[in-house]
Symmetry: C2
């Protein structure tokens, strides 16, 4: 390739919204150009890198026995209705009607499409396991795009869907994909950590993000000292220490408590440990149901965990008016004790407690009345809860369940693997195979994604200097760049042209900088775009 003909020039100025190194350098190097916010042209230089990444992903997916194909990008909306995802994923799902009135979702992920495909066939256990994948454009109606290719609204993704006879067989596929992903990212020069994650609206029970540690990332997670534990902040757990669980249970009392409404106000007034204070947080979910989250005073509520435990889609804090009018309680003085007896008619309240309430006895807190507190409240004896589980927010320094302390980390999610189980095949009728015993059984599923553009940007985040990108050889757009230092020196130009022709003849992927620019500018551009082997002639 002649640089004089290459479309996409290097740029010197950047705009103020370009914060991350990958955004700046990919823009300045002429790799990408924005169309509208979050939608990018991948320019010829960028597309060369894309294709190298795609080739490596394809190679490893094929080696793992997955089969490449392609599904339509417009998904019949009725499929998304079968799985109730028009609601759950509705916020970032784009929809379109054709002129005959048929409704479609612009695919943001393709579980329904692959389940719909496979149920058109009568497969048997002998056809399984089966793993189908595609490289295709995905659409997400993200509220905010940021960081160049790090968070976009339209992107090319490798998405794979596996179908197994049962969980045992699936787990082998899951581990195979885990290893495949590790190998893919290694070949791309990226060290990844498989981080336990929240499955969001994809469904299923467990999943892992493949994260590259980076301050430019949005994924916040915790690891322990030896990295035997890694989990996203949304799902991370920790060892809850036992406080006064052996203490004798005392009689509950109510006392006047003229105080403010914060935890600190309660602490000052009663002069008792913060962990002994009962923290009551009142939420309302998308159906208007009230949810009272109870937790030990030194912990905070993890709303993602609470959403899952209560099968909600989204939560908001209750307003002071709602707390007073609907619950007949008082902001800052909420208590589980007796609250259900005071509800206004028609009001629905679920009480959820963190399991840390089992580590503390004789707790203190509000009484559903202004300026009155209760002392020595105890779960079960004084109040009952509807749901009990882990709703605690993990923080740096807490003890890891697998030993050592927990450390907060940031990173970029370049891939993910999901256990889907029977989630989709139970919801979509006819997604069954014939087992050895002749019975029709639903497939046990998994899915596996890698964002190609985000992977490219992540490579840049890891491999760059202030002056430019330092591509790993496996993804560099060119093997070699020949820079003609002085275009007026005909002998050198001829020499460079000969070297260029020779390399092309040998099948070397070479860029010849034959532009009418100074040697200084050319070498700066070579640094910027990340030509690793520069031959100066």
């Amino acid at each position: 390739m002649r640089y004089s003909k290459l479309f996409g020039k290097t740029e010197k100025k950047i705009s103020a919204d370009m914060v991350s190194a990958s955004h700046k350098l990919l823009y300045k190097g002429g790799y990408i150009r924005e169309s509208t916010a979050g939608r990018y042209y991948i320019l010829p230089l960028g597309w060369r890198v894309f294709n190298k990444i795609i080739d490596i992903v394809r190679d490893e997916m094929n080696r793992a026995g997955a089969q490449e194909m392609v599904a339509p990008l417009l998904h019949p909306l009725e499929l998304w209705k079968e799985t109730n995802r028009t609601n759950e994923a509705g916020f970032e799902l784009m929809q379109v009607k054709d002129r005959r009135g048929a409704e479609f979702a612009l695919g943001g992920t393709a579980e329904e499409m692959f389940v719909d495909l496979i149920r058109k066939y009568q497969l048997s256990y002998k056809d399984l396991p089966l793993n189908l994948y595609q490289f295709s454009t995905k659409f997400r109606d993200e509220l905010r795009a940021r960081g160049g290719l790090l968070r976009v609204r339209e992107f090319i993704m490798k998405d794979a869907y596996s179908f197994d006879i049962d969980e045992e067989s699936f787990k082998k596929e899951y581990m195979k994909m885990w290893e495949t992903y590790t190998r893919i990212f290694n070949r791309l020069g990226l060290e990844t950590i498989a981080v336990e994650s929240d499955n969001g609206y994809i469904g299923g029970e467990y999943c892992h993000e493949f994260v590259v540690e980076s301050d430019a990332g949005e994924s916040k997670f915790f690891v322990n000292d030896d990295k035997s534990y890694a989990a996203h902040e949304d799902v991370a757990i920790f060892r809850k220490d036992v406080k006064n669980a052996d203490e004798e249970i005392k009689d509950m009392t109510e006392i006047e408590a003229v105080r403010g409404t914060t935890m600190e106000d309660g602490l000052k007034l009663h002069n008792l440990p913060i962990w002994q204070q009962l923290k009551d947080v009142m939420y309302v979910n998308e159906k208007g149901k009230f949810i009272l989250a109870l937790i030990r005073g030194d912990y905070d509520v993890n709303e993602v965990k609470l959403i899952h435990l209560t099968h909600s889609i989204e939560l908001r804090h209750a307003t002071p008016e709602e707390i007073r009018n609907d619950l007949t309680s008082e902001p800052g003085f909420i208590s589980p004790v007796g609250i259900k007896a005071k509800l206004k008619e028609g009001v629905n309240l679920v009480i959820v407690s963190d399991d840390s309430l089992r580590t503390v006895k004789n707790m203190y807190g509000g009484s559903n009345k202004l300026n009155f507190d209760r002392l020595d409240m105890n779960i079960d004896r004084d109040y009952q809860v509807d749901v009990e589980g882990d709703i605690a927010l993990t923080k740096e320094g807490y003890d890891c369940t697998k030993g050592g302390k927990l450390y907060a980390r940031k990173g970029i999610e370049v891939g993910n693997i999901f256990q889907l189980g029977y989630h989709y095949t139970n919801l979509m009728k006819g997604a069954v195979y014939t087992d050895k015993d002749g019975k029709r059984k639903p497939y046990y599923m998994g899915c596996y994604g890698i964002g190609i553009g985000r992977t490219m940007a992540t490579i840049v985040e890891k491999y760059h200097t202030e002056n430019g990108i330092k591509w790993p050889e496996t993804v560099a757009p060119f093997d070699t760049e020949i820079v003609i230092l002085n275009m007026k020196d005909e002998a050198r130009v001829a020499e460079a042209e000969k070297a260029y022709a020779d390399m092309l003849g040998k099948g070397i992927n070479v860029l010849l900088d034959d532009r009418n620019k100074s040697a200084g500018e050319k070498l700066m551009d070579a640094d910027l775009i990340g030509a690793n082997n520069v031959l100066k002639i």
Copy 2:
């Protein structure tokens, strides 16, 4: 690949709507599967063929100096408004809004996107010519899908856009693409004819369809004896023979003519040649403007030509009521003579004549009154026309302007090349380069498309028997298929497995039929999917 693991089984039954050979065989062979009408899954077998086609297209485009990149699939709608295409292409353009209210077109072709990209740069004449291309999904809101992959609503297209300094330079690019296309289709085993075509809503002045002759095609075109002329029926021209042009002009007269309303009725009554009869066809365009098309009685009106000549988007025939009420004329008795004086107030009429009216003198026809005809009408003397040009419909047997007769042919359009000229760069502000003289000038453009799926289907139309597909080697999904005839014969199975492993080791793309099926079934499937080299073990 082991056939036992290959997803997408061969099918025996087909549905009644599968008419074309490619639809039947690609479905039966497990190459494609329909999602909804006109939207297909390309299964692993089909995707192998797709990729081989894509590789050949890419190879030849690169050889021609074009550069691959990728543009977003959602196009900002304002770009389509700049070129007025939300109206002109509106009927098959799908639109979507995101949750922030931004409007997008689902790309059906990408002229605006590439012009918008290039105007973000300050290019000079030294950067030109430039040809950018992509493989990407296109969306068309077709009213009717048919023939499997022959006419679909969503498809992968190679689309290229060229930018030149002027028409002279562009013509070289156009010819280069012409040759590139011929080479591409040759490598794919397809003989193409470059057929002059209508540019539809793409714009520009001339374009060519690359057509493979086939009864399964929708492209109707004419060729002359030596194929030095080939043109789509919409644009085909012919040599109009001169009739009585030397005859002396006679005085126009009006006579009673109690007759029906057809041309034949006029012929019978007057007993004069059909070519001497004046044919008057009244249309209404999308803006409500009346258009009177005049042509020699032995010819018919080509509505596509009429649309272009009158800058209309669509035409319909005027109703008898409109002819009587708005034009104060009479169906079957319309005449250009004096019609403009009789229009109802506010009615707008354009008179368009075919140039064949110069080949005939002393014509006969209606008088805008029931049962009265005029004899010896002559253009210019008796009536004036607003637009004169070629609006004649070409028919088989007519004389070709390049010699010989014209023959009607049918074929499949697998690619097209368009001169766009300044159409887009005049409409989209800032699409300019800096010329040698330092002046900013608009780019001179062309565009070039190849539908990958339709190309695959066309190959099947040309290469098949009743029993299956006969792929050209360049696109066959596998180089070789090994069929294990008897799965119970362990020695033969071991032999086949060894041959399979050997071939894989040599990098041969081989399919091993290790399914538990009879030899007969396996060989039938091998015929069906089109394995050219079958090794029976």
